[in-house]
C-alpha cells in the first residue's frame, strides 16, 4: 500500500505503540483486500475492547483490563500496549445486556460488573457510549459522501443507501484500529466505481408497509448476496423504519451493504444514475410467488401457535415504533403466559420515558430494554419456546441461535399475539 508521511510516521511509532500496532493491522487488512491506499475517516463505530466471557477466560493469565483486551484481541497484538484516548470521533455500538433490567434478562451480578467495567473503559478512552445497533437514531448521523468506518451491517446499509455516506462493513479489529488512527482502506464503497448497481430487481407487487419492505429486503439479500441491487417498480411510502427493516433483512439473508431504489435513494435519481455505464448482470423480479416464498421461509421454523414471547426492536426500535406499540396496547394487558420486550437505544428510551410510553408498556406487562436484543445478548424470558417477531432479520437469526420456534408478521400481528397468547396471522 502507498502510505502518506503521516501514516508512515504512525507505523514507525511516532504516535505510540498502540497506533503502530493499529497501522500494522490496517496494512495487513488493506493488502488482503488489494487496496492501494487509505482514506481518512472521522466517524467510527464498533465494539472496542469488548471482553466477552470467552475472551475474559482466554486471556485471564495476561490480564483482562480494558487495555489488555484491546491490545491482544482488537489490535491482534502479541503484547499489551498502552491504549491512548481515541484520535477520531468514535462510538460504541450495542452490548450484551440492559444494565438496568439485567435480572429480567437472566444475567448475573458478576456479568453486570464485567459489563460496567467494559463501559468505564470505553468512556475513559473517549468513545461515545451509544450502546445501540442504530447509531443514526442516537446521535451519529453521517452525511452524503462522508467516509465512515462502521461495524453493524444494518447500520452500514442504512448509511450507504438512505444517506449516501461511504461505508464498508468493517470488523471489530479494523474499527478499533481506525478509532486510533483515523484511517481505513480506500476500497469498495469508498470509491465511485464501487457504488454502481450490479443487479436489477423489478418489484411487481405493492410494497408499502414495514412488513412488506422487510420481506422484500430478505428476498433481495438472498437473490444478490454481496452485490448491489437496484430496485424499480411498486415500492412506495418510504420511511426511516421501512428502510431500516429492508436493509437489515437484506444484510442478513445476503451481504448487501448498498442498495438503490430508483426515485427514493440519493444515488438513484434515475435508473441510469444507479448503474452508470454498467449493464445489470442479472434482471430479477419480485412478484406474488417470490413474496409467498419469503413469507414461508421466515415462518418455516415451527408450528405451535401458542406464543410465549414477543420481541420488537430489530434493529433497535425508533421512537415512532415505540409510539405505535403503545398505541396498539392502549390500556390492554398482556396474555398471562406471554412476555413482550421492546429493544431500543438509551437515547430513544429517554424520550419514551418522558413521553409516557415506558409506563404504558410496563403497565401492560411489557418492558422497554436498552443496549442489546435477544439474539445479540442471547436473552429471552425463561422457558421461551415460541417467539413472534416483526423483523425479518431477527426471524433469520433467532431460531438458529436460541433454538426456538418463530413467527414473522406485522407489528400489529405481534402485539395481538402478546395480548391473546396466540399467533393468528396469515400469509399475504
Amino acid at each position: 500500500m502507498k502510505l502518506t508521511d503521516q501514516e508512515k510516521a504512525m507505523l514507525d511509532g511516532a504516535g505510540g505503540a498502540a497506533k503502530r500496532k493499529a497501522m500494522e493491522l490496517l496494512i495487513r487488512y488493506g493488502e488482503a483486500l488489494g487496496a492501494e491506499r487509505f482514506v481518512d475517516t472521522n466517524n467510527v463505530t464498533g465494539v472496542p475492547g469488548w471482553a466477552t466471557d470467552f475472551l475474559r477466560h482466554y486471556y485471564k493469565d495476561r490480564g483482562t483490563s480494558y487495555e489488555a483486551i484491546f491490545s491482544l484481541f482488537d489490535l491482534d497484538s502479541d503484547e499489551i500496549v498502552e491504549v491512548p484516548k481515541m484520535s477520531v470521533y468514535s462510538c460504541h455500538l450495542q452490548g450484551s445486556m440492559d444494565p438496568k433490567l439485567w435480572k429480567e434478562q437472566g444475567k448475573t451480578a458478576d456479568a453486570l460488573a464485567d459489563y460496567l467495567q467494559d463501559e468505564a473503559g470505553v468512556a475513559a478512552h473517549g468513545i461515545q457510549v451509544l450502546k445501540t445497533c442504530t447509531p443514526y437514531l442516537a446521535g451519529n448521523v453521517p452525511v452524503k459522501g462522508e467516509h465512515c468506518a462502521w461495524m453493524e451491517s444494518s447500520a452500514v446499509v442504512f448509511g450507504n443507501s438512505v444517506i449516501g455516506a461511504r461505508i464498508n462493513v468493517e470488523g471489530r479489529e479494523s474499527t478499533s484500529s481506525a478509532m486510533l488512527t483515523g484511517k481505513i482502506p480506500d476500497w469498495g464503497l469508498h470509491r465511485d466505481e464501487g457504488r454502481l448497481g450490479t443487479h436489477h430487481i423489478a418489484v411487481e407487487v405493492p410494497v408499502a408497509d414495514v412488513f412488506n419492505w422487510g420481506m422484500l429486503g430478505y428476498f433481495v439479500g438472498d437473490a444478490v448476496q454481496e452485490n448491489i441491487p437496484v430496485l424499480t417498480g411498486d415500492v412506495s411510502n418510504p420511511s426511516l423504519v421501512k428502510h431500516k427493516h429492508f436493509g437489515a433483512a437484506a444484510a442478513s439473508s445476503g451481504g448487501i451493504e448498498l442498495y438503490n431504489i430508483v426515485g427514493l435513494t440519493p444515488e438513484a435519481a434515475s435508473y441510469e444514475m444507479a448503474f452508470g455505464a454498467r449493464k445489470p448482470v442479472e434482471n430479477l423480479r419480485y412478484g406474488r410467488r417470490e413474496r409467498r416464498q419469503v413469507y414461508d421461509t421466515l415462518n418455516s421454523v415451527g408450528s405451535n401457535a401458542d406464543v410465549d414471547f414477543v420481541m420488537i426492536g430489530c434493529p433497535h426500535a425508533s421512537i415512532e415504533q415505540i409510539w405505535e406499540v403503545a398505541t396498539l396496547l392502549d390500556g390492554r394487558k398482556l396474555h398471562s403466559g406471554t412476555n413482550l420486550w421492546i429493544f431500543t437505544s438509551r437515547s430513544v428510551k429517554s424520550v419514551a420515558d418522558t413521553t409516557g410510553y415506558t409506563k404504558i408498556i410496563r403497565d401492560a406487562g411489557g418492558y422497554i430494554m436498552t443496549d442489546t436484543c435477544s439474539a445479540f445478548g442471547r436473552t429471552m424470558p425463561p422457558d421461551t419456546k415460541v417467539v413472534a417477531l416483526d423483523s425479518a432479520k431477527q426471524a433469520h437469526y433467532l431460531p438458529a441461535m436460541m433454538g426456538v420456534e418463530a413467527w414473522f408478521g406485522t407489528t400489529r400481528d405481534c402485539i395481538a399475539a402478546a395480548t391473546t397468547g396466540r399467533w393468528n396471522a396469515s400469509a399475504p
Partner: protein, 150 residues
C-alpha cells in the same frame, strides 16, 4: 477443457494447480470442505466447536476445523471477523481458506485468523475441488495444489 484436466488428474493421481492472489501468507495442507454457499460468521457459526449452525445452510451441522474451507466468501453480520478470530483462539479455525468473492468481512477475518488464504484464481476452484480432496494452500505464492481423493 476443465473436465479433461480433472479426468487426467484423477486417472494419473496427479495434482491440479490453481494460481491466485495472496490474501494472507503461510502454508497449510488439509482435507477440503467445499460449499458454493456463502457463510455467515456471527449467528451462522459456533466458534467454540467450529460448526456451521445456520439452519438454511447446506453445511449446517458440519465442522470446518482444521480443513481447507473452499467457498465463495462471507455474508451477514459485521461480527464475521470477531467470530472467526475467536475460533482461532478456541482452536477451531479452518487450516486455510480458498474463496472467490472478496469482501471486507472475509479479508478482515482471514487477517485476524492468521489463516493462509488465496483468491482471484486463474480457474474456477469449484470446478476442480470437491469435499474430501487433499489441498495444499501456499498463501505467499498464491498457489493451491489439489490432489483428488479418487
Amino acid at each position: 477443457m476443465t473436465s479433461e484436466i480433472l479426468e487426467n488428474a484423477i486417472a494419473g493421481g496427479r495434482t491440479i494447480i490453481l494460481r491466485g492472489r495472496k490474501v494472507v501468507g503461510g502454508t497449510a495442507e488439509a482435507e477440503a470442505l467445499v460449499t458454493r454457499q456463502t457463510i455467515s460468521g456471527w449467528g451462522g457459526v459456533d466458534p467454540m466447536t467450529g460448526t456451521i449452525i445456520e439452519l438454511r445452510h447446506e453445511l449446517c451441522g458440519q465442522c470446518f476445523s482444521g480443513k481447507v474451507l473452499v467457498f465463495p466468501g462471507a455474508k451477514g453480520s459485521s461480527g464475521w471477523s470477531t467470530i472467526f478470530h475467536t475460533a482461532r483462539l478456541a482452536g477451531t479455525a479452518p487450516a486455510a481458506m480458498v474463496f472467490t468473492v472478496m469482501t471486507t468481512k472475509i479479508a478482515m477475518g482471514a487477517v485476524a485468523m492468521h489463516c493462509p488464504s488465496v483468491t482471484d484464481f486463474d480457474r474456477d476452484p469449484f470446478e476442480v475441488i470437491e469435499t474430501g480432496d487433499r489441498v495444499r494452500v501456499d498463501g505467499d505464492a498464491g498457489i493451491v495444489e489439489i490432489t483428488k481423493r479418487k
